[in-house]
Amino acid sequence: MKNLRFLIIGIVFGIVLSKSEAVSWYRIYEMFKFQSFHMYGIIGSAVAISAIFMYFFKIGKIKDYSGNQINIKEKEKGFVRTLAGGIIFGLGWALAGACPAPIFVLIGQGILPMIVVLLGALLGTFIYGLLSKKLPN
């Protein structure tokens, strides 16, 4: 199966997010209360090391598995959408204590009410799709 590699990456990522406690509602609460360095350490060290990878991708020293230049997708520009979207996501992140990846990890852990959060997230995505042309960008 050609996608087996993404199954394995997903499994490893799910284990890392669990063992790092980044899927814990409490860790997110603690982060927003500035009462622990834990989440800042995880995100900060992930960003710092990723920045080194990104540098080698950009200068072409590291290529992808088939030898092609690695292109980093440019994020959509637009101050209003990015800030407003960010704030809306932040409200949900703190309330559920989970961002998109941990939603799936926690369902795997057997936290079944997280399925309601997932359905909500799909509904929110759907609402965005309906309104996307009418929203300020």
């Binding site: 284990i15 790092s20 409490y26 603690e30 996501f89 057997g110 799909l122 965005y128 309906l130």
Partner: protein
Amino acid sequence: MDFILQPWPWFVSGPLIAIILFLFFHFGKNFGVSANLETICTMAGAGKVSDYFKKDWKERDWAIVFLVGLTIGGYIAVNYLSVTTEIDLNPITVNELADLGFADAGKTYVPNEIFSIENMQTLKGFAILLIAGILIGFGTRYADGCTSGHAITGLSSFQLPSLIAVIGFFIGGLVMTWILFPLIFG
């Protein structure tokens, strides 16, 4: 082996997340999770209602496999790779949460006050879960990314929109935690 069974410190977890990002790019994809919510909507037939979802999801079938992997990873971590789900929280956090009505903070990964089956069956409990999800789904699409797409991929490649998005994530998170929580749970 004992090290694996204990919670992993940040300086182990952060670099491992960077390696996950590396593998994504190595296999020719960008690292991000929230776009997959869109893919699920497309698979479910949202394209019939809105042109926004008129995309070929088969091009992103790998993303669905990745989500299945995440779920399996959570199952494996909790059932085979953990001796405890206790979290070593700051005692100040535990006391503050007790005042908000969260008993036993840190004994499990997520609080029963939000994530128990009984709570899910109450109107307020169900509404909290659903609304949190809607905010996550809507916000990540409007901002064009979540924690992995903006905070990790975007910041590490020095993209300005990602810095703005992460500032937004924090404004929203701080408002929820400091202002709205006492109103919702107090």
